[in-house]
């Protein structure tokens, strides 16, 4: 089969690889009908997250049709079923899964000794996302083995196009969780840093959860226009002062809720010296993340407010203003997304026409063009916001 394979920094190729096989009775194999490039795939493209090895198949936003099931699936899936694959692999049986904390499933990371060392405790196995999270082959391929498939799936009905359902795998529940974690009140202003695909979903989620005002921060006109279309007031941080504009828009009080949809690769600008220092330290491996957005959020958030982190951080972040964080009584909520905790509700909202997540797709190309689209997406060429690949 064809698959997008990581060969090194900025080197992803469309290789021919052997087809996946059932390895465990709880496995299923799907024929991928659609998959997507995620913003967090770019961290791997840049080799900023340790634990990738040449030969790893990329991709964690995937859906398709079940073509083979293991003997232990127990009727929960059958050939021909149409499923979206959550990016978090879950067993559905461990203590964390029972609590709904699916992204920290205690069972599915088959290389848990690495995660135990790096994070203190293992997290769930993830598709196509480093050997720290199991080294599972990803879904930017023609076929995908889904481990623990009896629990790791979202069954979706026929009649709704892939484009509307695919993002149940990651970015829609990720944006949703980021907003839910904020405990949005009807009087709240929610400020969202980053108008990439997750940021766009967080904007819509904040609207659906009843925020009084949503403010979106980015520097790319196409993304800001999409954010405005979704009901946000926008700030272009290249032409405006984020701190001053947020004060203006909140009568000097600051936003009650702040969402980070940027993560470890925040924009580097000469006018923001901390971003230059972070980049220099990141280059010599003295710091793994560039946490400018976290610093800014802690500074501007209204005292007593909530900071929700959906953007991916991989390791160590320097110079976080813990004094402000503590003295302002802020709350921070974070985490990879507990996808299956949210997907029943989100699928219902899609079915009822409340939201159509396909609005975010700007490019649809064959899988073979994937390597080139990684570059287009990274370079923000052709006003690219979200790429869907068709195997």
């Amino acid at each position: 089969m064809k698959a997008l394979v990581w060969h090194g920094k900025e080197d992803i190729r469309c290789d021919t690889v052997t087809d996946p096989e059932i390895q465990d009775p709880r496995d299923a194999i799907i024929k991928v009908t659609s998959c997507a490039i995620c913003g967090s795939d770019l961290h791997l493209f840049h080799n900023f997250i340790p634990g990738m090895m040449p030969g790893d198949i990329m991709g964690h936003e995937t859906m398709g049709e079940v073509v083979e099931v293991g003997s232990g699936i127990d009727g929960k899936l059958k050939k021909g079923d149409r499923i979206v694959v959550p990016f978090t692999i879950i067993c559905g049986e461990c203590d964390q899964c029972k609590r709904g904390n699916f992204s920290v499933c205690e069972t599915t990371n088959r290389k848990r000794h690495l995660a135990d060392k790096v994070f203190g405790h293992t997290t769930a196995g993830l598709f196509g996302y480093t050997h720290l999270t199991g080294g599972y082959p990803g879904g930017q391929a023609e076929y995908l083995r889904v481990p623990y498939a009896d629990a790791t799936h979202i069954k979706v009905p026929a009649g709704i196009p892939d484009e509307q359902l695919l993002f149940l795998s990651d970015i829609f529940p990720t944006g949703w969780q980021a907003a839910v974690q904020c405990d949005i009140e009807p009087t709240d202003t929610v400020a969202i840093w980053g108008c990439g695909p997750v940021g766009q979903m967080a904007i819509r989620s904040a609207i659906l959860l009843g925020a009084n005002q949503v403010i979106a921060i980015d520097c790319l006109p196409e993304r800001l226009s999409m954010a405005e279309a979704g009901g946000a007031t926008t700030i272009n941080f290249e032409t405006e002062s984020v701190l001053e504009r947020l004060k203006e828009l909140t009568d000097g009080k600051g936003p009650e809720k702040c969402i980070d949809c940027v993560g470890m690769e925040s924009h580097v600008m000469a006018s923001l010296p901390d971003t230059l220092l972070d980049r220099a330290k990141q280059m010599v491996m003295a710091e793994s993340d560039r946490p400018h957005v976290l610093r800014e959020m802690i500074y501007v958030c209204r005292p007593g407010g909530v900071i929700s982190v959906a953007g991916v951080y991989s390791g160590l972040s320097d110079m976080l203003p813990m004094g402000a964080f503590m003295n302002k009584g802020l709350t921070m909520r974070t985490g990879q997304t507990h996808v299956n905790r949210w997907t029943d509700d989100l699928l219902r909202r899609i079915e009822e026409g409340e939201i159509d997540p396909s609005f975010v797709i700007t490019h649809t190309v064959p899988l073979e063009q994937g390597p080139e689209m990684y570059q287009v997406f990274r370079d923000k060429r052709d006003s690219c916001v979200k790429v869907v690949l068709r195997p």
Binding site: T18, L220, V284, S383
Partner: protein, 177 residues
């Protein structure tokens, strides 16, 4: 290379049968080679400055050589990173500094001026490679004033934003018991 990577695959996981084309350009390979060269030269300058000054007949300038070594290492690291273009331009600037320092040692009374001439030739050659690589690895991001597509009609709410806001307000006003 992929044959090696297949050895470390978990049993049963897909293995590469035939490698696809790489989008890496020759300039990327050149940048990588220059990056490692820069780190190697920098280490020599930093760790053995006396050997360098003796070879060039420029004894007494060890501190400067050591500082140049640090500069080379940093430019090398940058050339190997995703910001390689900045690293390569830093190297081009460094080549100018190297040439100026070598020229200052090219005095009639320097018994090693032949070595300096040779070093100048090498710096010139490397500078040409640095310049070429820097030109060819320019970031392909569109310029800030480039015309871009905008998406003002992509609300994502098939029934409209106001409908979404109203529904949210109703839910807030009548929360589930």
């Amino acid at each position: 290379m992929f044959h090696f990577s297949n050895f470390v695959r978990t049993e049963g996981d897909p293995k590469i049968v035939e490698g696809g084309p790489s989008l890496k350009r020759p300039a990327d390979q050149l940048a990588r080679a220059l990056g490692w060269f820069s780190i190697g030269l920098g280490l020599v300058e930093f760790l053995a400055p006396r050997r360098v000054t003796e070879t060039l007949g420029m004894e007494g300038h060890e501190t400067m050589v050591r500082a140049f070594g640090v500069r080379e290492i940093l430019a090398g690291i940058m050339s190997l990173s995703v910001d390689k273009n900045a690293g390569l331009w830093a190297r081009v600037g460094g080549d100018g500094l190297d040439a100026a320092a070598l020229l200052s040692g090219l005095t009639p009374d320097n018994p090693k001026k032949g070595n300096i001439a040779l070093a100048l030739l090498m710096v010139g050659g490397i500078a040409m490679l640095d310049y070429r690589a820097a030109q060819d690895t320019k970031p392909r991001r569109p310029p800030r004033d480039a015309r871009r597509k905008l998406y003002p009609n992509r609300s994502g709410f098939p029934k409209g934003i106001e409908n979404a806001r109203t529904a949210a307000k109703q839910i807030a006003a009548h929360p589930k018991a």
